[in-house]
């Protein structure tokens, strides 16, 4: 019998995602989507013995309640959501055998913000542009284009998994409740629109994550920006405000300055627009964004392009079978 998962309660925003998401279609206006914390997501797939591209669930702030129609192996990684399986505490970062008819229930995230659930075989939904990832703002991918809803049923591909595998402690992302995060940034592409003292102020200040943040953008609150002369002496085609620029493409992760409000453009962001991007958060720091909560405090730590690439390789090096004990 094919395995189905019944969605008893959908949780706050639970979506089907795959790695690396809808990659390579930025020129058609499609964001990458995919898991926000790709480190935790990949480890969940490895735990249950899935291929890296197998689709799983991203659970935001409050996870779902799910009932499994058949035996399978699952793993839960990322944020601590105090999950239970038929009322018994469910271990994180470990592959666990689930019997037909059992129910996994999640609560609110007590540590971190996003948890990832992998099921042996992977979730089966149609691919759009080669990916199963959900881009729910446009109704693309995932389960009918959107986050899960109560009462839906999720199909899972057949696949055997091995229970009892754990991720080594030092191979997991250090998700903590300190509310203070050091986030790496690469300067550019439009850092020349900010005055030198504005660059220093950005790097020396604390930035508070606003509640109006989601998989499209992370809004930050902090001190005023100081613009370079260039930002006010530009041609009229660039727009009126110093943060306006003639429409251009946006790097994923760029810190998009909309008036005085910086918005970090994340997995489901628009691919272009008319605001400057003085800094960019590299992919290696995305797991920290994914695991932070509104009102958490960011401080930004400038790194070079090459350092950011090396950090990404470091994380990739942990998303491997060797990280399992």
């Amino acid at each position: 019998m094919a395995l189905n998962i019944d969605v008893i309660k959908a949780g706050l925003e639970t979506s089907v995602q795959d790695f690396p998401g809808r990659y390579g279609f930025w020129e058609q206006g499609f964001p990458p989507s995919g898991p926000f914390d790709m480190w935790s997501f990949r480890l969940a797939n490895i735990l249950v013995g899935n291929a890296p591209e197998a689709a799983g669930l991203e659970c935001q702030f409050m996870g779902p309640t799910l009932k499994f129609s058949d035996d399978c192996v699952i793993a839960f990684t990322g944020a601590e959501m105090n999950a239970t399986l038929d009322g018994e505490t469910f271990p994180m970062w470990e592959s666990v055998a689930v019997a037909a008819g059992q129910t996994l229930a999640c609560g609110f995230a007590s540590v971190g913000a996003r948890a990832y659930l992998a099921v042996s075989g992977g979730i089966e939904v149609p691919q759009v542009l080669g990916a199963r990832a959900t881009f729910h703002m446009a109704g693309v991918g995932g389960l009918e284009g959107h986050a899960l809803k109560d009462g839906q049923s999720i199909a899972v591909n057949g696949g055997a998994g091995v229970p009892g595998r754990k991720v080594k402690q030092d191979c997991r992302p250090k998700i903590a409740n300190g509310k203070q995060w050091q986030i790496e940034v690469v300067q550019g592409p439009n850092d020349d629109w900010i005055a030198e003292e504005g660059i220093e102020r950005f790097l020396e200040s604390e930035w508070k994550l606003q509640a109006r943040s989601n998989r499209t953008g992370y809004r930050l609150e902090g001190p005023e920006w100081i613009f370079a002369d260039k930002a006010s002496s530009k041609g009229p085609e660039h727009g009126e405000h110093p943060s306006n620029i003639l429409d251009h493409g946006y790097p994923v992760g760029s810190i998009n300055l909309c008036g005085q409000t910086p918005i970090i453009l994340v997995n489901d962001a628009p691919s272009a627009g008319g605001f400057i991007n003085p800094f960019t958060v590299p992919s290696a720091a995305f797991w920290k964004l994914a695991q932070s909560k509104p009102n958490d405090i960011y401080r930004f730590n400038r790194v070079s392009v090459e350092e950011a690439q090396e950090m990404r390789r470091g994380i990739d090096g942990l998303c491997v079978e060797d990280s399992i004990e």
Binding site: W26, G29, V140, V186, G239, D247, A272
Partner: protein, 289 residues
């Protein structure tokens, strides 16, 4: 202004922004699209995606396959191979898209905005006035009198950023401030130097002048034109709007719904920048349709 040498600016660990200049000269977009075509032709190792705009091109790359420094060298090599902008010849399909100008649905959008956010005039009247046209009807005549160049497909899936190729049909207009919270799907808008078509119902800042009944993207790939692709247009394609009335709008809408709509897209021409510029130079640019 076109820079003597393009600028290469980093965007985190896997993007680079190539800027050809700092204004809205259409030559800069031609260069960005020439580089896009050259990257595809060259199949440069490590390049995974491109994202063009008015005067720049974002290139996404895989740093395990190419370093940032080597990517800059490869880009500079391809750019010098493009020659001058007049030498560029770009693949460019021409899509005829039905458009009902001065339609009732975008009128509803303006009314909704006036009621909820701030009172404003009917957009086509406003755009006609700021451009010195006789009336909204002339605006429709001018907007449908030119081929529109697809500068980029960006922001939301399949959304074309377009500018008029015929300088006699150039329209400029300020954008909404604050933006609309709701826009009808398929609405045709103008803002800044550009025209666009809303591919998702949602917020927006362009002045609305019409609406098309045809989809510009289809994740279900239902209509035949979407057999091998999800979005209708690519950057460097051209769009010609074909004015229709309400009856024809409803007819086309029904054919889209039942899956029998045939798009009219020609693909037998290439776009020669040199020939285009020669033609522009020959025009009486003060002429208006």
């Amino acid at each position: 202004m076109k820079f003597d040498q393009p600028k290469y600016l980093p965007g985190g660990d896997h993007f680079i922004l190539v800027q050809f200049g700092d204004d809205a000269s259409i030559d800069l977009n031609f260069m960005a699209l020439g580089l896009t075509a050259a990257l595809k032709e060259d199949a440069t190792k490590g390049v995974v995606d491109t994202n063009p705009s008015y005067n720049s091109l974002i290139v996404e790359y895989e740093s395990d396959d190419i370093s940032y420094a080597d990517l800059k060298i490869e880009l500079a090599r391809l750019i010098s191979g493009l020659g001058s902008v007049e030498d560029l010849e770009l693949e460019s399909r021409l899509a005829y898209l039905p458009a009902m100008y001065l339609d009732p649905w975008t009128r509803d959008c303006v009314a909704d905005y006036s009621e909820k956010i701030a009172p404003r005039d009917y957009d086509p009247d406003f755009v006609a006035e700021v451009n010195g046209f006789e009336d909204a009807k002339q605006l429709a005549r001018i907007h449908s009198g030119t081929e529109h160049w697809v500068v980029a497909v960006c922001s939301t899936p399949g959304l074309p950023l377009m500018r008029a190729l015929d300088p006699r049909c150039a329209i400029t207009s300020p954008k909404y401030n604050p933006p609309r919270t709701w826009t009808t799907l398929g609405a045709i808008g103008v803002g800044g130097l550009s025209s666009s078509i809303y591919t998702t119902p949602g917020p927006g800042g362009y002045n609305l002048i019409g609406r098309t009944p045809v989809p510009l993207w289809d994740p279900q790939q239902r209509l035949p034109v979407f057999k091998d692709r999800v979005v209708l247009l690519d950057a460097a394609d051209r769009v010609k709007f074909v004015p229709i009335g309400e009856e024809e709008f409803e007819y086309i809408e029904a054919r889209v719904a039942d899956g029998s709509y045939e798009f009219n897209i020609t693909a037998y021409q290439r776009f020669s920048v040199g020939a285009y510029k020669k033609w522009v130079a020959s025009l009486n640019q003060d002429g208006r349709f």
